[in-house]
């Protein structure tokens, strides 16, 4: 359950940024999660309440923007959507690919007051 580490990492960053902005709480947080980031949305949901309890994020609304994974085939340069990391190129069936999108795991913005 590395999602707990991820959630605690988010809390840590939010605490620092809130303090820096002379605010006391986060009203909303916007996350960006790529579909191949390695974070399961259900697992993150499961640990969220525990992780944010008694922190600046306790009452924050959470918005998540999911980024679809995309890769470029290193053999034929076809760009395609990736559901699983082991997907082959739909055109030439090569497994050599560069996943250029979908591994994001970021805090995009915080709304603090």
């Amino acid at each position: 359950m590395h999602e707990l580490s991820i959630a605690l990492g988010i809390v840590d960053i939010a605490e620092k940024e809130t303090k820096k902005a002379n605010a006391t709480k986060v009203d909303a947080i916007e996350l960006i999660i790529g579909t191949l980031s390695g974070v399961e949305p259900e697992a993150l949901e499961f640990v969220w309440q525990v992780a944010v309890q008694d922190t600046v994020l306790a009452k924050a609304e959470r918005h998540i923007e999911y980024i679809e994974a995309k890769a470029k085939c290193l053999e034929c340069e076809t760009t395609f959507s990736v559901q699983n990391v082991y997907d082959a190129c739909p055109k030439c069936n090569s497994y050599f690919k560069d996943v250029f999108q979908g591994k994001e795991l970021k805090i995009k913005a915080l709304e603090v007051s």
């Binding site: 580490s5 990391v85 082991y86 497994y95 805090i107 603090v112 007051s113």
Partner: protein
């Protein structure tokens, strides 16, 4: 929605960047953008902080720091990962027993509980630090940073980091290692690499352990490798038995090539 004046529409709450910007948009009302006004009603002051910050940034920064330290001292660091029971510790024990007279080795053992693994390494008279992660399911770069301080490794040495037995979580956490080595035993089934692809994707080397059990199992070795290569076409394999020592020599040759003399 415009983040400066709040005009425009959006579905639900929108979080936008607050910054000075120029753009053209029509207003359905006249007003000057430069006026100041007093107001004495109370209101909550809200600020939007545009971060775009990687959540793993702290781990990645410290991992980069570890990596720089290893480079400067010509320490070759290996992050050994696998599911529990694949034989990581036995594989490590065999490697240390056979090579410790040729190269200096240092070991960091990661487990949720107990010092059992560290005791096994200590019995080989190799410097070792045990990291117990408690509830944690993986090692992080700060644990390595602190463990390395305690180990104070010599230049031109190997640092073997045995991660917590877990084929999921350690994949996301860079420790600053030079190479990530995933151990799979043939008792685990051919399709392990596509069941837990992230770990095979992030690894450089795949050790296939317990080869001595092959006569007793219905395992298609080619299928196992094909699945692993589907996930990561760059993987390099070593087929070994840590128990009998079979197949260890090519692994030792590879290790010897990694350390700059």
């Amino acid at each position: 929605m415009c983040g400066t004046c709040g005009c425009g529409t959006g579905d639900g709450p929108t979080i936008v960047k607050i910054e000075n910007h120029d753009h053209d948009h029509s207003h359905g009302h006249d007003h000057s953008h430069t006026h100041t006004h007093d107001h004495d009603h109370s209101h909550t002051h809200k600020t939007v902080i545009e971060l775009e910050q990687d959540i793993l940034q702290n781990n990645n920064l410290l991992a980069a720091r570890n990596r720089g330290f290893f480079d400067a001292k010509n320490i070759f660091a290996i992050n050994l990962v696998s599911s529990p029971g694949s034989g990581k510790t036995s594989f490590l024990e065999r490697t240390l027993a056979d090579l410790k007279d040729q190269y200096p080795f240092y070991v960091i053992e990661g487990d949720q509980q107990t010092q059992n693994d560290a005791n096994r390494i200590h019995a080989l008279q190799v410097p070792v630090v045990q990291v117990n992660t408690g509830k944690g399911c993986h090692l992080e770069s700060d644990m390595i940073y602190n463990a390395v301080k305690q180990l104070a490794p010599k230049d031109h040495s190997f640092l073997m980091i045995e991660n917590v037995g877990n084929l999921v979580c350690p994949a996301m956490f860079d420790l600053g290692e030079n190479k990530r080595v995933v151990v799979i035993s043939i008792t685990e089934g051919e399709d392990k690499p596509i069941k837990y692809p992230d770990m095979f994707l992030s690894s450089d080397i795949c050790i296939i352990n317990k080869m001595d059990l092959q006569p007793y199992l219905k395992i298609d070795m080619q299928k196992l490798k094909d699945y692993a290569l589907q996930v990561n076409p760059h993987l390099q394999f070593f087929e070994v038995s840590a128990t009998t020592g079979e197949g260890m020599t090519p692994w030792y040759d590879w290790l010897s090539q990694q350390i700059k003399k």
